[in-house]
Symmetry: C2
Subunit: 285 residues, 2 copies
Amino acid sequence: MKIGVIGLGLIGGSLAMSLKKNGVASNIIGMDANEANAAKALELGIIDGIGSLNDVLMDSELIVLAIPVDKARVVLAEALDNIPSGTVITDMGSTKAGICKSVENHPNRRNYVASHPIAGTEHSGPEAAISNLFDEKVAIICDVDEVAISLLSRVEAMYASLNMRVVYMSPEEHDLHMAYVSHLSHISSFALSTTVLEKEKDEKTIFDLAGSGFESTVRLAKSSPEMWGPIFRQNSKNVSEALGTYIEHLTSIKEMMDNGDETKMKGMMKDANGIKKILNGINNK
Amino acid sequence: MKIGVIGLGLIGGSLAMSLKKNGVASNIIGMDANEANAAKALELGIIDGIGSLNDVLMDSELIVLAIPVDKARVVLAEALDNIPSGTVITDMGSTKAGICKSVENHPNRRNYVASHPIAGTEHSGPEAAISNLFDEKVAIICDVDEVAISLLSRVEAMYASLNMRVVYMSPEEHDLHMAYVSHLSHISSFALSTTVLEKEKDEKTIFDLAGSGFESTVRLAKSSPEMWGPIFRQNSKNVSEALGTYIEHLTSIKEMMDNGDETKMKGMMKDANGIKKILNGINNK
């Protein structure tokens, strides 16, 4: 299949790499607003050629948008205006309600599949691309009823070829759940980093004392502001609600500590331990 | 060397395992308040025999306390009352100021080395013990001037045999730094778990949608309440201060989101990205 990939960072790069490796892509045209990224992807053999949006539209059966969610909305509108009727375009964005809303009345709405593969790392750019990024992960597809069936199948087949499981839901459900199981984790990590960097001005000290627990909770603070700024803005209502609840829990923990109430603290931790069952689930899925 | 290990959970078990493997321990007597744990450790070959506190005191050159920090204080006092003059006892606790204070006037203070190996996982019990837990990690020793030099060397040699680097500081410094680079991470993780579990009552949904980022930030919420309750209580002043600052940062992030101030959000994330340099340091130490 001839594939166009718009955005050659971690996600677009890893996708191109995987689809070449598994034989699904016969040819991949790539583009990236950052010319150095595009050149690097070509040099690494992740794509077969670099093209304009018009080239991608005219010479792809499947187009994948893997750019920040604010830019994805703009490029999607432009692409749908000119998309050949037999071509499908999908996006990989971490927010779904806004982008679906933005094209709901577009005459070529049936050519667009709103999707989101739940995969990533805290690294960015084509050099961070890895060929097994998507293996055994979940991909969400929203608003399937709006898409032409034959075009939808093409995207489903792509995810199946990557050994992914597809889950269907509405864009609103998607954004609400992601606020809790992904976006809030990123906020907690960014704030943790800020708090510790502010206090521990002597880097050598952190370096000596920080263990694997600290690293684990703060890892996501390495994530790209260019990618996450627009996600947080587009999902601000849900994330703000989740964050409000998180702050309430932290405030209540602070009170328990200030009151020396170890019994309540232990009860809180025991409840939080309930996550064990779910994490075991994640690892076995 | 004849070694006594009091507390045969993850830390005590891993330590015993490592010191047998590297030949430092010629014989290990173990004890655990939980008889099943002690029996399991013996069955797994982690220790050579089970004994009472008196047995441990009479038949060890080096005694290691690897029990929750509230119990460690009680057992340390009892042990120091009866310790032979040529025997050294050390503890592995995550708080140091309180335990050091509790024995500052003890006539056998010179037999006690206050230490803390920065190593662990979120798992508990002797079955969780692993022989390379301490490899290439840091061990902190506090108040070295209070200890008899020959006895101190024995503990330093033990850590050196585990391929650990020893760092020296005051108990107060230790507790302050740990509040930021370890204890706060645990609080953030417990609260994240509580927030998400409360919202996502349908476990299947979390299971489907949660990615590696969520898992990473919430992993520490699996930690033992019995171990962490006393740590938080003993270090409540420092942890409460760190938590207060963390809540302030989160509240300020919530305001940025509610105001739709993406520029400020990106600035905050860019600052938080500064943690990259430090995490690279951790991985290369």
